[in-house]
Protein backbone atom coordinates (compact mmCIF):
# COMPACT_ATOMS: atom_id res chain seq x y z
CA UNK A 1 0.00 0.00 0.00
CA UNK A 2 2.91 2.32 0.80
CA UNK A 3 4.11 1.69 -2.66
CA UNK A 4 0.92 2.61 -4.36
CA UNK A 5 0.37 5.73 -2.30
CA UNK A 6 3.90 6.77 -2.96
CA UNK A 7 3.37 6.39 -6.64
CA UNK A 8 0.14 8.39 -6.55
CA UNK A 9 1.72 11.15 -4.54
CA UNK A 10 4.75 11.61 -6.70
CA UNK A 11 3.32 10.97 -10.14
CA UNK A 12 1.16 14.07 -10.05
CA UNK A 13 2.67 17.53 -10.14
CA UNK A 14 1.86 19.52 -7.06
CA UNK A 15 1.90 16.47 -4.80
CA UNK A 16 3.19 18.52 -1.89
CA UNK A 17 0.43 21.06 -2.34
CA UNK A 18 -3.09 20.82 -0.99
CA UNK A 19 -4.46 22.57 -4.06
CA UNK A 20 -2.68 23.35 -7.30
CA UNK A 21 -4.17 24.62 -10.53
CA UNK A 22 -2.51 25.51 -13.80
CA UNK A 23 -4.18 27.71 -16.36
CA UNK A 24 -7.58 26.80 -14.93
CA UNK A 25 -10.26 28.44 -17.03
CA UNK A 26 -14.05 28.22 -17.22
CA UNK A 27 -16.03 29.96 -19.91
CA UNK A 28 -19.78 30.25 -19.85
CA UNK A 29 -20.53 31.21 -23.42
CA UNK A 30 -18.11 33.95 -24.42
CA UNK A 31 -17.52 35.14 -20.86
CA UNK A 32 -14.68 33.69 -18.84
CA UNK A 33 -15.92 33.26 -15.28
CA UNK A 34 -12.48 32.01 -14.29
CA UNK A 35 -9.52 32.96 -16.43
CA UNK A 36 -6.11 31.25 -16.44
CA UNK A 37 -5.88 30.58 -12.72
CA UNK A 38 -2.66 29.30 -11.13
CA UNK A 39 -3.55 28.58 -7.51
CA UNK A 40 -0.85 27.39 -5.13
CA UNK A 41 -2.15 26.28 -1.74
CA UNK A 42 0.54 24.69 0.45
CA UNK A 43 -0.38 21.87 2.80
CA UNK A 44 -1.03 23.06 6.32
CA UNK A 45 -1.89 26.61 5.29
CA UNK A 46 -5.03 28.58 5.93
CA UNK A 47 -5.61 30.11 2.53
CA UNK A 48 -7.94 33.07 2.22
CA UNK A 49 -9.50 33.15 -1.24
CA UNK A 50 -10.76 36.68 -1.59
CA UNK A 51 -12.67 38.61 -4.15
CA UNK A 52 -15.88 40.54 -4.65
CA UNK A 53 -19.14 38.75 -5.39
CA UNK A 54 -19.09 37.43 -8.92
CA UNK A 55 -15.31 37.39 -9.27
CA UNK A 56 -15.22 33.63 -9.95
CA UNK A 57 -14.51 32.20 -6.50
CA UNK A 58 -17.43 29.76 -6.40
CA UNK A 59 -16.87 28.60 -9.99
CA UNK A 60 -13.25 27.88 -9.07
CA UNK A 61 -14.36 25.88 -6.04
CA UNK A 62 -16.87 23.93 -8.15
CA UNK A 63 -14.06 23.03 -10.55
CA UNK A 64 -11.77 22.01 -7.68
CA UNK A 65 -14.45 19.64 -6.38
CA UNK A 66 -15.23 18.12 -9.78
CA UNK A 67 -18.74 19.59 -10.03
CA UNK A 68 -17.93 21.69 -13.08
CA UNK A 69 -15.59 20.76 -15.90
CA UNK A 70 -12.93 23.36 -16.71
CA UNK A 71 -12.83 24.73 -20.25
CA UNK A 72 -9.05 24.63 -20.06
CA UNK A 73 -6.27 23.96 -17.58
CA UNK A 74 -5.70 21.37 -14.87
CA UNK A 75 -6.14 21.15 -11.16
CA UNK A 76 -5.19 18.80 -8.38
CA UNK A 77 -6.37 18.27 -4.82
CA UNK A 78 -3.96 16.69 -2.34
CA UNK A 79 -1.91 15.54 -5.30
CA UNK A 80 -4.79 13.87 -7.15
CA UNK A 81 -5.82 15.19 -10.54
CA UNK A 82 -9.38 16.52 -10.67
CA UNK A 83 -11.84 15.38 -11.89
CA UNK A 84 -10.18 11.97 -12.62
CA UNK A 85 -9.09 11.37 -9.03
CA UNK A 86 -12.12 12.96 -7.37
CA UNK A 87 -13.55 9.70 -6.03
CA UNK A 88 -10.24 8.84 -4.41
CA UNK A 89 -9.48 12.19 -2.86
CA UNK A 90 -12.85 13.74 -1.99
CA UNK A 91 -13.41 11.55 1.10
CA UNK A 92 -10.45 13.42 2.62
CA UNK A 93 -11.88 16.79 1.66
CA UNK A 94 -14.71 18.47 3.53
CA UNK A 95 -16.53 21.17 1.63
CA UNK A 96 -19.05 23.93 1.84
CA UNK A 97 -20.08 25.17 -1.59
CA UNK A 98 -22.22 28.23 -2.22
CA UNK A 99 -24.17 28.12 0.98
CA UNK A 100 -25.93 25.33 2.84
CA UNK A 101 -28.37 23.00 1.05
CA UNK A 102 -30.35 20.31 2.82
CA UNK A 103 -33.71 18.59 2.68
CA UNK A 104 -36.09 21.02 4.37
CA UNK A 105 -38.45 18.44 5.86
CA UNK A 106 -35.67 16.37 7.44
CA UNK A 107 -34.10 17.27 10.79
CA UNK A 108 -30.55 18.54 10.93
CA UNK A 109 -29.42 15.19 12.24
CA UNK A 110 -31.32 13.23 9.58
CA UNK A 111 -29.69 15.37 6.90
CA UNK A 112 -26.24 14.54 8.25
CA UNK A 113 -27.21 10.86 8.47
CA UNK A 114 -28.10 10.95 4.80
CA UNK A 115 -24.74 12.43 3.82
CA UNK A 116 -22.93 9.95 6.03
CA UNK A 117 -24.88 7.09 4.46
CA UNK A 118 -23.73 8.29 1.06
CA UNK A 119 -20.06 8.08 2.03
CA UNK A 120 -18.60 4.68 1.19
CA UNK A 121 -15.54 5.38 3.31
CA UNK A 122 -17.59 6.15 6.42
CA UNK A 123 -17.96 3.39 8.96
CA UNK A 124 -21.68 2.95 9.74
CA UNK A 125 -20.82 1.72 13.25
CA UNK A 126 -19.31 5.08 14.20
CA UNK A 127 -21.89 7.13 12.31
CA UNK A 128 -23.82 8.22 15.37
CA UNK A 129 -20.87 9.40 17.39
CA UNK A 130 -19.27 11.17 14.44
CA UNK A 131 -22.52 13.00 13.68
CA UNK A 132 -22.90 14.00 17.33
CA UNK A 133 -19.29 15.20 17.45
CA UNK A 134 -19.75 17.30 14.30
CA UNK A 135 -23.01 18.79 15.59
CA UNK A 136 -21.39 19.53 18.93
CA UNK A 137 -18.44 21.21 17.28
CA UNK A 138 -20.70 23.76 15.56
CA UNK A 139 -22.99 24.14 18.57
CA UNK A 140 -26.06 22.51 17.01
CA UNK A 141 -26.37 19.42 19.19
CA UNK A 142 -29.33 20.83 21.12
CA UNK A 143 -31.33 21.67 17.98
CA UNK A 144 -30.33 18.67 15.89
CA UNK A 145 -33.84 17.21 16.04
CA UNK A 146 -35.54 20.24 14.55
CA UNK A 147 -36.53 20.26 10.93
CA UNK A 148 -34.06 22.03 8.68
CA UNK A 149 -36.77 24.38 7.41
CA UNK A 150 -37.11 25.79 10.93
CA UNK A 151 -33.42 26.65 11.11
CA UNK A 152 -32.22 30.23 10.87
CA UNK A 153 -29.65 31.11 8.22
CA UNK A 154 -26.89 30.98 10.81
CA UNK A 155 -27.98 27.50 11.97
CA UNK A 156 -28.11 26.31 8.36
CA UNK A 157 -24.60 27.57 7.82
CA UNK A 158 -23.45 25.75 10.94
CA UNK A 159 -25.10 22.53 9.78
CA UNK A 160 -23.25 22.79 6.47
CA UNK A 161 -19.97 23.18 8.34
CA UNK A 162 -20.89 20.17 10.49
CA UNK A 163 -21.42 18.17 7.30
CA UNK A 164 -17.89 19.06 6.21
CA UNK A 165 -16.58 17.75 9.54
CA UNK A 166 -18.30 14.34 9.52
CA UNK A 167 -15.05 12.58 8.70
CA UNK A 168 -11.43 13.40 9.52
CA UNK A 169 -10.30 15.70 6.72
CA UNK A 170 -6.94 16.73 5.32
CA UNK A 171 -8.42 19.66 3.47
CA UNK A 172 -11.46 21.82 4.08
CA UNK A 173 -12.84 23.94 1.27
CA UNK A 174 -15.17 26.48 2.80
CA UNK A 175 -17.01 28.83 0.48
CA UNK A 176 -18.16 31.91 2.42
CA UNK A 177 -18.49 30.04 5.73
CA UNK A 178 -19.41 33.15 7.70
CA UNK A 179 -22.23 34.17 5.39
CA UNK A 180 -25.37 34.86 7.40
CA UNK A 181 -23.67 34.46 10.74
CA UNK A 182 -23.87 37.12 13.42
CA UNK A 183 -20.61 38.57 14.81
CA UNK A 184 -20.61 35.96 17.56
CA UNK A 185 -21.04 33.16 14.99
CA UNK A 186 -18.34 34.65 12.80
CA UNK A 187 -15.95 34.60 15.72
CA UNK A 188 -16.84 30.99 16.44
CA UNK A 189 -16.14 30.00 12.84
CA UNK A 190 -12.79 31.76 13.07
CA UNK A 191 -11.93 29.82 16.21
CA UNK A 192 -13.10 26.61 14.61
CA UNK A 193 -10.91 27.19 11.56
CA UNK A 194 -7.96 28.02 13.80
CA UNK A 195 -8.41 24.84 15.85
CA UNK A 196 -8.77 22.71 12.70
CA UNK A 197 -5.68 24.31 11.23
CA UNK A 198 -3.70 23.64 14.40
CA UNK A 199 -4.59 19.94 13.95
CA UNK A 200 -2.80 20.13 10.60
CA UNK A 201 -5.85 20.44 8.35
CA UNK A 202 -5.36 22.69 5.35
CA UNK A 203 -8.19 25.20 5.11
CA UNK A 204 -9.15 26.95 1.89
CA UNK A 205 -11.67 29.61 2.79
CA UNK A 206 -13.32 32.02 0.40
CA UNK A 207 -14.86 35.32 1.34
CA UNK A 208 -15.83 38.64 -0.13
CA UNK A 209 -15.20 40.24 3.26
CA UNK A 210 -11.50 40.47 3.90
CA UNK A 211 -11.92 41.55 7.51
CA UNK A 212 -13.56 38.21 8.31
CA UNK A 213 -10.67 36.07 7.18
CA UNK A 214 -7.57 38.23 7.37
CA UNK A 215 -6.89 37.38 11.01
CA UNK A 216 -6.84 33.65 10.45
CA UNK A 217 -5.06 33.29 7.11
CA UNK A 218 -1.46 32.35 6.52
CA UNK A 219 -1.86 32.76 2.77
CA UNK A 220 -4.01 34.90 0.54
CA UNK A 221 -5.20 34.84 -3.02
CA UNK A 222 -7.16 37.74 -4.42
CA UNK A 223 -9.56 37.32 -7.34
CA UNK A 224 -10.88 40.08 -9.50
CA UNK A 225 -13.08 39.53 -12.50
CA UNK A 226 -12.06 35.89 -12.94
CA UNK A 227 -8.33 36.47 -12.55
CA UNK A 228 -5.98 35.95 -9.65
CA UNK A 229 -4.46 39.41 -9.05
CA UNK A 230 -2.36 38.56 -5.98
CA UNK A 231 -1.24 35.40 -4.24
CA UNK A 232 1.25 34.42 -1.59
CA UNK A 233 1.77 34.31 2.15
CA UNK A 234 -0.05 37.07 4.00
CA UNK A 235 3.20 38.95 4.59
CA UNK A 236 4.19 38.60 0.93
CA UNK A 237 0.91 39.97 -0.25
CA UNK A 238 1.13 42.75 2.31
CA UNK A 239 4.79 43.35 1.39
CA UNK A 240 3.87 44.73 -1.99
CA UNK A 241 2.81 47.93 -0.27
CA UNK A 242 4.80 50.46 1.76
CA UNK A 243 4.17 52.03 5.16
CA UNK A 244 3.25 55.64 5.66
CA UNK A 245 4.71 58.05 8.22
CA UNK A 246 2.40 60.78 9.48
CA UNK A 247 3.32 63.80 11.54
CA UNK A 248 0.77 66.00 13.23
CA UNK A 249 2.25 69.48 13.51
CA UNK A 250 1.45 73.15 13.16
CA UNK A 251 4.57 73.81 11.05
CA UNK A 252 3.91 71.72 7.94
CA UNK A 253 6.19 73.66 5.62
CA UNK A 254 9.27 73.06 7.77
CA UNK A 255 8.28 69.44 8.28
CA UNK A 256 7.98 68.86 4.53
CA UNK A 257 11.42 70.34 3.97
CA UNK A 258 13.10 68.26 6.71
CA UNK A 259 11.42 65.02 5.71
CA UNK A 260 12.30 65.49 2.04
CA UNK A 261 15.91 66.16 3.01
CA UNK A 262 15.93 62.93 5.03
CA UNK A 263 15.02 61.07 1.85
CA UNK A 264 11.38 60.17 2.46
CA UNK A 265 9.35 59.58 -0.68
CA UNK A 266 6.09 61.24 -1.66
CA UNK A 267 6.20 63.84 1.11
CA UNK A 268 3.14 66.08 1.11
CA UNK A 269 1.17 68.26 3.42
CA UNK A 270 -2.14 66.90 4.58
CA UNK A 271 -4.74 68.55 6.82
CA UNK A 272 -3.16 68.99 10.25
CA UNK A 273 0.27 67.71 9.26
CA UNK A 274 2.53 65.93 6.78
CA UNK A 275 2.90 62.41 5.47
CA UNK A 276 5.53 60.51 3.52
CA UNK A 277 6.90 57.09 2.77
CA UNK A 278 9.96 56.23 4.90
CA UNK A 279 12.21 54.08 2.72
CA UNK A 280 15.34 53.07 4.59
CA UNK A 281 14.76 55.71 7.26
CA UNK A 282 14.08 54.65 10.82
CA UNK A 283 11.12 56.37 12.50
CA UNK A 284 13.26 57.63 15.39
CA UNK A 285 15.57 59.39 12.92
CA UNK A 286 12.62 61.25 11.46
CA UNK A 287 11.40 62.38 14.89
CA UNK A 288 14.90 63.43 15.96
CA UNK A 289 15.42 65.45 12.78
CA UNK A 290 12.06 67.15 13.13
CA UNK A 291 12.66 68.12 16.74
CA UNK A 292 16.17 69.31 15.92
CA UNK A 293 14.71 71.46 13.13
CA UNK A 294 12.39 73.11 15.62
CA UNK A 295 9.19 71.45 14.44
CA UNK A 296 6.70 70.82 17.23
CA UNK A 297 5.62 67.18 16.87
CA UNK A 298 2.15 66.59 18.35
CA UNK A 299 1.88 63.04 17.12
CA UNK A 300 3.93 60.70 14.97
CA UNK A 301 2.77 57.41 13.48
CA UNK A 302 4.04 54.86 11.00
CA UNK A 303 1.30 52.60 9.61
CA UNK A 304 1.27 49.75 7.16
CA UNK A 305 -1.74 49.94 4.88
CA UNK A 306 -4.47 47.63 6.03
CA UNK A 307 -5.19 44.61 3.93
CA UNK A 308 -8.59 46.12 3.38
CA UNK A 309 -7.00 49.08 1.55
CA UNK A 310 -4.89 46.64 -0.42
CA UNK A 311 -7.92 44.54 -1.25
CA UNK A 312 -9.81 47.53 -2.54
CA UNK A 313 -6.74 48.65 -4.51
CA UNK A 314 -6.41 45.19 -6.10
CA UNK A 315 -10.04 44.55 -6.88
CA UNK A 316 -10.78 48.17 -7.56
CA UNK A 317 -14.27 48.26 -6.18
CA UNK A 318 -16.47 48.48 -3.20
CA UNK A 319 -19.97 47.20 -3.46
CA UNK A 320 -20.12 46.70 -7.21
CA UNK A 321 -20.55 43.18 -8.47
CA UNK A 322 -18.09 42.41 -11.20
CA UNK A 323 -18.88 40.80 -14.51
Amino acid sequence: MTHRLDHLQTSVPGGDLAIATRGLTKRFGARAAVDDLDLVVPRGSVYGFLGPNGSGKTTTIRMLLGLVRPSAGTSSLLGQPIPQGAQVVLPRVGSLVEGPAFHPYLSGRANLQRLDAADLTADPRTSRQRIDAALDRVGLLATAGKRYRAYSLGMRQRLAIAAALLMPRELLVLDEPTNGLDPQGTREVRHLVASLASDGTTVFVSSHLLSEVEQMCTHLGVMSDGRLVAQGSTTEVRGGSEPTARVLTEQPTAAVRIMTELGLGGVEAVPGGVRGTPIGVAPEEIVAALVEGGVGVKEFTVTSPSLEDLFVALTGEGFDVSG
Partner: protein, 295 residues
Amino acid sequence: MSAAESVLTDGPQRVAGSDGVPLSRRLSTRLLRSELRLIAGRRRNQMGLLVLAAVPVFIAVAVRISSPREGRGPDFLSSITSNGLFVPIAALSVELGLFLPLAIAMLAGDAVAGEANLGTLRYLLTVPVGRTRLLVTKYVSLLIGAVWGVAVVVLAGAIAGIALFGTGPMLTLSGTEISFGSAVWRVVLVSLYIAVGLAALGAVGLFISTLTEQPLAATVALMIFTILSWIADSVPQISWLHPWLLVDQWMAFGDLLRDPPFWDNIAQGLRVDLAYVVVFWLLAWARFAGKDITS
Protein backbone atom coordinates in the same frame (compact mmCIF):
# COMPACT_ATOMS: atom_id res chain seq x y z
CA MET B 1 7.96 9.56 0.45
CA SER B 2 7.28 11.96 3.26
CA ALA B 3 3.90 12.83 1.80
CA ALA B 4 2.95 9.18 1.59
CA GLU B 5 4.24 8.61 5.06
CA SER B 6 2.18 11.40 6.48
CA VAL B 7 -0.91 9.86 4.87
CA LEU B 8 -0.07 6.53 6.40
CA THR B 9 0.59 7.88 9.84
CA ASP B 10 -2.45 10.09 9.85
CA GLY B 11 -4.61 7.25 11.05
CA PRO B 12 -6.50 4.28 9.75
CA GLN B 13 -9.55 6.14 8.41
CA ARG B 14 -7.47 8.27 6.11
CA VAL B 15 -5.72 5.28 4.67
CA ALA B 16 -9.07 3.67 3.95
CA GLY B 17 -10.14 6.90 2.30
CA SER B 18 -7.10 7.29 0.11
CA ASP B 19 -6.87 3.68 -0.88
CA GLY B 20 -9.48 1.14 -1.93
CA VAL B 21 -12.73 1.00 -0.05
CA PRO B 22 -13.37 -2.60 1.03
CA LEU B 23 -15.66 -4.44 -1.37
CA SER B 24 -18.23 -5.17 1.33
CA ARG B 25 -18.64 -1.46 1.89
CA ARG B 26 -18.54 -0.65 -1.81
CA LEU B 27 -21.68 -2.77 -2.14
CA SER B 28 -23.26 -1.04 0.85
CA THR B 29 -26.98 -0.36 0.60
CA ARG B 30 -26.84 2.53 3.07
CA LEU B 31 -27.43 5.16 0.42
CA LEU B 32 -30.32 3.19 -1.10
CA ARG B 33 -31.92 2.72 2.30
CA SER B 34 -31.47 6.42 3.02
CA GLU B 35 -33.08 7.16 -0.33
CA LEU B 36 -36.07 4.94 0.43
CA ARG B 37 -36.49 6.53 3.86
CA LEU B 38 -36.46 9.91 2.18
CA ILE B 39 -39.16 8.85 -0.28
CA ALA B 40 -41.29 7.09 2.32
CA GLY B 41 -40.94 9.89 4.85
CA ARG B 42 -42.12 12.63 2.54
CA ARG B 43 -45.64 13.74 3.41
CA ARG B 44 -46.59 14.29 -0.22
CA ASN B 45 -45.66 10.71 -1.11
CA GLN B 46 -47.64 9.37 1.83
CA MET B 47 -50.68 11.32 0.61
CA GLY B 48 -50.08 9.95 -2.88
CA LEU B 49 -50.12 6.39 -1.55
CA LEU B 50 -53.37 7.13 0.25
CA VAL B 51 -54.93 8.29 -3.02
CA LEU B 52 -53.65 5.17 -4.80
CA ALA B 53 -55.17 3.03 -2.03
CA ALA B 54 -58.45 4.92 -1.96
CA VAL B 55 -59.37 4.09 -5.56
CA PRO B 56 -59.80 0.30 -5.11
CA VAL B 57 -61.72 0.85 -1.87
CA PHE B 58 -63.98 3.28 -3.68
CA ILE B 59 -64.52 0.79 -6.53
CA ALA B 60 -65.29 -2.04 -4.11
CA VAL B 61 -67.81 -0.03 -2.14
CA ALA B 62 -69.45 1.38 -5.27
CA VAL B 63 -69.90 -2.07 -6.83
CA ARG B 64 -71.16 -3.51 -3.55
CA ILE B 65 -73.79 -0.78 -3.16
CA SER B 66 -74.96 -0.93 -6.77
CA SER B 67 -74.73 -4.69 -7.21
CA PRO B 68 -78.05 -6.13 -8.40
CA ARG B 69 -80.45 -7.51 -5.89
CA GLU B 70 -81.31 -11.17 -6.01
CA GLY B 71 -82.73 -12.28 -9.34
CA ARG B 72 -82.75 -8.91 -11.07
CA GLY B 73 -79.21 -8.28 -12.37
CA PRO B 74 -77.22 -10.01 -15.08
CA ASP B 75 -75.54 -13.26 -14.21
CA PHE B 76 -72.24 -11.93 -15.51
CA LEU B 77 -71.76 -9.32 -12.84
CA SER B 78 -72.77 -11.61 -10.05
CA SER B 79 -70.32 -14.23 -11.25
CA ILE B 80 -67.51 -11.66 -11.28
CA THR B 81 -68.38 -10.46 -7.85
CA SER B 82 -68.17 -13.88 -6.32
CA ASN B 83 -64.40 -13.25 -5.94
CA GLY B 84 -63.02 -10.07 -4.36
CA LEU B 85 -59.86 -10.13 -6.48
CA PHE B 86 -61.66 -8.41 -9.34
CA VAL B 87 -61.28 -5.23 -7.28
CA PRO B 88 -57.45 -4.88 -7.44
CA ILE B 89 -57.54 -5.76 -11.15
CA ALA B 90 -60.19 -3.15 -11.88
CA ALA B 91 -58.35 -0.59 -9.75
CA LEU B 92 -55.06 -1.23 -11.57
CA SER B 93 -56.69 -0.78 -14.96
CA VAL B 94 -58.25 2.49 -13.80
CA GLU B 95 -55.10 3.84 -12.16
CA LEU B 96 -52.73 2.79 -14.94
CA GLY B 97 -54.10 5.60 -17.10
CA LEU B 98 -53.15 8.46 -14.83
CA PHE B 99 -52.51 7.88 -11.14
CA LEU B 100 -49.73 5.31 -11.30
CA PRO B 101 -47.77 7.18 -14.01
CA LEU B 102 -48.26 10.35 -11.96
CA ALA B 103 -46.78 8.66 -8.91
CA ILE B 104 -43.73 7.64 -10.94
CA ALA B 105 -43.50 11.13 -12.43
CA MET B 106 -43.43 12.69 -8.95
CA LEU B 107 -40.67 10.36 -7.76
CA ALA B 108 -38.71 10.83 -10.98
CA GLY B 109 -39.00 14.60 -10.65
CA ASP B 110 -37.55 14.42 -7.14
CA ALA B 111 -34.81 12.00 -8.16
CA VAL B 112 -32.29 14.29 -9.81
CA ALA B 113 -34.07 17.57 -10.57
CA GLY B 114 -35.37 17.74 -6.99
CA GLU B 115 -31.91 17.30 -5.51
CA ALA B 116 -30.52 19.86 -7.97
CA ASN B 117 -33.27 22.28 -7.02
CA LEU B 118 -32.53 21.98 -3.30
CA GLY B 119 -28.79 22.14 -3.94
CA THR B 120 -28.31 18.82 -2.16
CA LEU B 121 -27.03 17.33 -5.42
CA ARG B 122 -23.72 19.19 -5.15
CA TYR B 123 -23.26 17.98 -1.58
CA LEU B 124 -24.00 14.35 -2.51
CA LEU B 125 -21.52 14.52 -5.38
CA THR B 126 -18.78 15.98 -3.19
CA VAL B 127 -19.28 13.38 -0.41
CA PRO B 128 -18.34 11.88 -2.91
CA VAL B 129 -21.02 9.76 -4.55
CA GLY B 130 -19.93 8.76 -8.04
CA ARG B 131 -22.35 10.00 -10.65
CA THR B 132 -23.02 6.52 -12.00
CA ARG B 133 -23.56 5.19 -8.49
CA LEU B 134 -25.98 8.01 -7.73
CA LEU B 135 -27.93 7.39 -10.92
CA VAL B 136 -28.11 3.63 -10.22
CA THR B 137 -29.30 4.29 -6.67
CA LYS B 138 -31.91 6.75 -7.89
CA TYR B 139 -33.15 4.32 -10.51
CA VAL B 140 -33.30 1.36 -8.15
CA SER B 141 -35.34 3.47 -5.75
CA LEU B 142 -37.67 4.37 -8.63
CA LEU B 143 -38.07 0.64 -9.36
CA ILE B 144 -38.89 0.00 -5.74
CA GLY B 145 -41.26 2.96 -5.84
CA ALA B 146 -43.07 1.43 -8.82
CA VAL B 147 -43.47 -1.93 -7.09
CA TRP B 148 -44.53 -0.12 -3.92
CA GLY B 149 -47.24 1.88 -5.69
CA VAL B 150 -48.66 -1.16 -7.47
CA ALA B 151 -48.51 -3.20 -4.27
CA VAL B 152 -50.48 -0.59 -2.38
CA VAL B 153 -53.23 -0.59 -5.01
CA VAL B 154 -53.35 -4.39 -5.10
CA LEU B 155 -53.25 -4.88 -1.34
CA ALA B 156 -55.87 -2.22 -0.64
CA GLY B 157 -58.00 -3.69 -3.45
CA ALA B 158 -57.55 -7.26 -2.27
CA ILE B 159 -58.45 -6.43 1.31
CA ALA B 160 -61.48 -4.36 0.35
CA GLY B 161 -62.55 -6.88 -2.29
CA ILE B 162 -62.23 -9.95 -0.11
CA ALA B 163 -63.96 -8.19 2.77
CA LEU B 164 -66.93 -7.23 0.62
CA PHE B 165 -67.11 -10.07 -1.91
CA GLY B 166 -65.37 -13.07 -0.39
CA THR B 167 -62.99 -15.62 -1.80
CA GLY B 168 -65.03 -17.58 -4.28
CA PRO B 169 -63.68 -18.93 -7.58
CA MET B 170 -62.59 -16.36 -10.16
CA LEU B 171 -64.12 -16.09 -13.61
CA THR B 172 -61.35 -15.80 -16.24
CA LEU B 173 -61.70 -13.73 -19.39
CA SER B 174 -61.97 -17.03 -21.28
CA GLY B 175 -65.10 -17.80 -19.34
CA THR B 176 -63.71 -20.58 -17.21
CA GLU B 177 -63.46 -20.54 -13.46
CA ILE B 178 -60.20 -20.87 -11.54
CA SER B 179 -59.69 -21.42 -7.83
CA PHE B 180 -58.97 -18.58 -5.44
CA GLY B 181 -55.40 -19.81 -5.00
CA SER B 182 -54.54 -19.63 -8.69
CA ALA B 183 -56.42 -16.33 -8.91
CA VAL B 184 -53.98 -14.91 -6.34
CA TRP B 185 -51.08 -15.92 -8.56
CA ARG B 186 -52.69 -14.29 -11.58
CA VAL B 187 -53.02 -11.04 -9.63
CA VAL B 188 -49.35 -11.22 -8.64
CA LEU B 189 -48.37 -11.71 -12.30
CA VAL B 190 -50.52 -8.77 -13.38
CA SER B 191 -48.93 -6.59 -10.67
CA LEU B 192 -45.41 -7.51 -11.73
CA TYR B 193 -46.19 -6.88 -15.40
CA ILE B 194 -47.57 -3.43 -14.60
CA ALA B 195 -44.64 -2.65 -12.29
CA VAL B 196 -42.20 -3.46 -15.11
CA GLY B 197 -44.06 -1.05 -17.41
CA LEU B 198 -43.91 1.66 -14.75
CA ALA B 199 -40.21 0.97 -14.19
CA ALA B 200 -39.65 1.61 -17.90
CA LEU B 201 -41.55 4.86 -17.55
CA GLY B 202 -39.28 5.59 -14.58
CA ALA B 203 -36.24 5.34 -16.86
CA VAL B 204 -37.77 7.97 -19.15
CA GLY B 205 -38.49 10.07 -16.05
CA LEU B 206 -34.94 9.69 -14.77
CA PHE B 207 -33.60 10.97 -18.08
CA ILE B 208 -35.96 13.97 -18.05
CA SER B 209 -34.97 14.61 -14.43
CA THR B 210 -31.32 15.06 -15.49
CA LEU B 211 -32.33 17.76 -17.97
CA THR B 212 -33.76 20.29 -15.55
CA GLU B 213 -33.39 21.72 -12.06
CA GLN B 214 -37.15 22.05 -11.62
CA PRO B 215 -38.73 18.88 -10.22
CA LEU B 216 -42.21 20.01 -11.21
CA ALA B 217 -41.07 20.57 -14.79
CA ALA B 218 -39.72 17.01 -14.90
CA THR B 219 -42.98 15.64 -13.45
CA VAL B 220 -45.13 17.56 -15.94
CA ALA B 221 -42.88 16.59 -18.85
CA LEU B 222 -43.17 12.90 -17.97
CA MET B 223 -46.96 13.19 -17.69
CA ILE B 224 -47.07 14.86 -21.10
CA PHE B 225 -44.96 12.01 -22.46
CA THR B 226 -47.35 9.46 -20.96
CA ILE B 227 -50.54 11.14 -22.14
CA LEU B 228 -49.19 11.78 -25.65
CA SER B 229 -48.27 8.08 -25.76
CA TRP B 230 -51.84 7.09 -24.83
CA ILE B 231 -53.25 9.50 -27.42
CA ALA B 232 -50.92 8.26 -30.16
CA ASP B 233 -51.82 4.71 -29.23
CA SER B 234 -55.50 5.43 -29.75
CA VAL B 235 -55.14 6.89 -33.27
CA PRO B 236 -55.50 4.01 -35.76
CA GLN B 237 -54.05 6.05 -38.65
CA ILE B 238 -50.59 5.80 -37.11
CA SER B 239 -50.81 2.14 -36.20
CA TRP B 240 -47.25 1.66 -37.54
CA LEU B 241 -46.09 3.64 -34.55
CA HIS B 242 -48.02 1.65 -31.97
CA PRO B 243 -45.50 -1.19 -31.45
CA TRP B 244 -42.92 1.44 -30.49
CA LEU B 245 -45.04 3.11 -27.84
CA LEU B 246 -44.30 2.32 -24.22
CA VAL B 247 -47.96 2.20 -23.25
CA ASP B 248 -49.11 0.13 -26.25
CA GLN B 249 -49.16 -3.20 -24.44
CA TRP B 250 -49.70 -1.91 -20.91
CA MET B 251 -53.36 -2.93 -20.94
CA ALA B 252 -52.40 -6.37 -22.23
CA PHE B 253 -52.25 -7.50 -18.61
CA GLY B 254 -55.79 -8.77 -19.22
CA ASP B 255 -54.21 -11.59 -21.22
CA LEU B 256 -52.85 -12.92 -17.95
CA LEU B 257 -56.43 -13.44 -16.85
CA ARG B 258 -57.22 -15.82 -19.72
CA ASP B 259 -57.24 -19.55 -19.29
CA PRO B 260 -54.56 -20.45 -20.19
CA PRO B 261 -52.76 -17.07 -20.16
CA PHE B 262 -52.01 -15.61 -23.60
CA TRP B 263 -48.35 -14.66 -23.65
CA ASP B 264 -47.66 -13.01 -27.04
CA ASN B 265 -48.70 -9.46 -26.17
CA ILE B 266 -47.20 -9.75 -22.71
CA ALA B 267 -43.85 -10.73 -24.22
CA GLN B 268 -44.06 -7.88 -26.72
CA GLY B 269 -44.86 -5.47 -23.88
CA LEU B 270 -41.89 -6.66 -21.84
CA ARG B 271 -39.59 -6.29 -24.86
CA VAL B 272 -40.69 -2.68 -25.35
CA ASP B 273 -40.30 -1.99 -21.62
CA LEU B 274 -36.79 -3.37 -21.64
CA ALA B 275 -35.83 -1.36 -24.74
CA TYR B 276 -37.08 1.84 -23.09
CA VAL B 277 -35.14 1.05 -19.91
CA VAL B 278 -31.89 0.50 -21.81
CA VAL B 279 -32.21 3.48 -24.14
CA PHE B 280 -33.36 6.03 -21.58
CA TRP B 281 -31.03 4.80 -18.87
CA LEU B 282 -28.09 5.28 -21.23
CA LEU B 283 -29.37 8.71 -22.24
CA ALA B 284 -29.70 9.68 -18.58
CA TRP B 285 -26.19 8.44 -17.87
CA ALA B 286 -24.69 10.19 -20.90
CA ARG B 287 -26.37 13.40 -19.87
CA PHE B 288 -25.58 13.22 -16.16
CA ALA B 289 -22.02 11.88 -16.25
CA GLY B 290 -20.57 14.96 -17.90
CA LYS B 291 -23.00 17.58 -16.69
CA ASP B 292 -21.78 20.78 -15.03
CA ILE B 293 -23.49 20.99 -11.65
CA THR B 294 -24.12 24.69 -11.21
CA SER B 295 -27.17 24.43 -8.97
